[in-house]
Amino acid sequence: MSSMNRREFLQMLAAASVAGAALDARPLLAAGNADVLYDLPKFGNVHFMHFTDCHAQLLPIWFREPSVNLGIGTALGKAPHLVGEHLLKAFNIKPGTREAHAFTYLDFTQAAKTYGKVGGFAHLTTLAKRLRAGRPGALLLDGGDTWQGSATALWSKGQDMVDAGKLLGVDMMSAHWEFTLGDKRVQEIVEKDLKGKIEFLAQNIKTTDFGDPVFPPYAMREMNGVQIAVIGQAFPYTPIANPRYMMADWTFGIQDENMQKMVDEVRAKGAKVVVVLSHNGMDVDLKMAARVTGIDAILGGHTHDGVPRPITVKNAGGQTLVTNAGSNGKFLAVLDFDVSGGKVQDFRYKLLPIFSNLLPADAEMASYIDKVRAPHKARLEEKLAVTEGLLYRRGNFNGSWDQLILDAIMEVKGADIGFSPGFRWGTTLLPGSAITFEHLMDQTAITYPQSTLNEMKGERVKEILEDIADNLYNPDPYYQQGGDMVRVGGMSYTCDPNAAAGRRISDMRLHDKPMAADKTYKVAGWAPVDPSATGEPVWDVVSRWLKDKKTVSPRKVNVPKLIGMKGNPGIA
């Protein structure tokens, strides 16, 4: 083939694939296509369904996956640190398809309009029921971060989600943000509401005084004649990432020695399948899978990574599958094991995106959700402003929703600099949408919502940025916390994720002038972990600002200049 002909041939191929993508969307829009997506033939004899980090999103929402999720050190170029085309290529997903939209940020606004909203408990219930019908005995596991993330969850102290979980038929759960309701409230729910219905599992929570376990570490069941065990792993750094005073009598940590002990214990009791329901975050899970032996699968969450297929980790005892099932109610994972001769022979895994217009709402769940919302409807639906740009949160350094919050608190409080925490939850709004009070609460509904204004020396600002950068980019996952970098408004900086702790942040500037270590700056922020902090709830500050603006222009998202990240497939 001559070079001319070859080029023509490739152009023709490209044109065909574009046409193919366009054609693809049409048949998928038909409701009948749901069967193609959700008709998952049963495999083997042991079945788990898993969702995680739904962050109290009862209704269908939009959620844009990140365009920045950098992997450094041994995590470079590997799942979950792949974004956009890199992720599609690694998992062999065709660009321009419904699946590509579910797993990436690519062409987000257009694709979101084409395929509609995702998640919603009524739609999740329909899918779970359908899968259960074909998989007798299947267990539904909830990885946690279920009782926090919405206005109604906050106002009902988690009750709306506790009852939704029961109605959905959750069998077992672990936790993280649940603990920000306070240790007393969590124990009250576990003892009164969950008893005999949902097992609340955590092998890594002990009392600070005597080291006694607070919750059962695992649960065992017989499923289709096979003994199985599920071990719970709560978020190991809850008292560090969230206010410690809220769970002061409990100590957490990864505790992989105790994990090994628990695995050995359930194996000795006859478990042929051992699954860990984990809120470690995927990088920590990958390391734990290499160190602890005898686990068949770690069903993971916390880092909100929608990973289409499990990662197989080899260890001294064989191998362990590690998964991560995304966030905000967007996905339901199905893991089937074929167990015979006393051990796992084979498996199948599928992470199913919940497209709410392909799955009819379950009537009972839909009416429950209506009932929960009814008393608050007017407040939830109050229109604060209209956004001209796309509003999203997820990404290592910033998102347009966080930029909006930064712009608001800095302006209202007259600050030079703004800090907004690197949370990974929070839904997405399409350009031209009304911003309701409910949408604002999707970004801010926490039990420590105080907005603050502090005076800080330049030196202290750097210290904070360095500390949080190390929580994200320490090469050893056991020293990471799994959130994103604090969002920074007003000032610019340079970040070198590969550098050593304390040396990643440089060239800090305010209005283009270098900042000084001993100069004092006014810093606005919210979500203080210090029990003595006071201030107006951040949603009141931002809500006032939005009502005043009426129309919010597209935000200029402030991100640092990066060093050494060229070619990293974790950035678009």
Partner: protein, 156 residues
Amino acid sequence: MNTTRRAVLKSATASGMLAGLIAAGALRPTQVLAAEWNKAAFEAKDTAGALKGIGAGAPADSKDLILKAPDIAENGAVVPVDVVSNIPNTSSITILVEKNPSPLSASFDFANGALPEVSARLKMGQTSLIKAVAKADGKFYTAQKEVKVTVGGCGG
């Protein structure tokens, strides 16, 4: 649930509480073992000085000395550290926090074959290596682990 057990223990006698405080390291070793207070070692401002103070120049790394500490401290004011020595004839265990103003944090002597296993709660101002040093048959052995102390917040 252990509420009952904790409640019972909380109402324990004053002497019981005192034993607990010593175990938790809330009382300084001076008050417990005043006679054997190694002033030079405890007041040394760096690790080298503290090691010299206890007579250990350059201790050898040992896998038989097991140091347990969290990867990230939940509270820098009370970091739980456990040290077990499986080295025969261990006669002392010393714990140092490299970046503390006075690195030597605790030192324990074991007489007449006492089991060389200790737990302490240490105060740490910043991310630092923690070192355990064991003495056995006149030789010194060491193990270490980094414990991160962070500002917190921003997770999840």
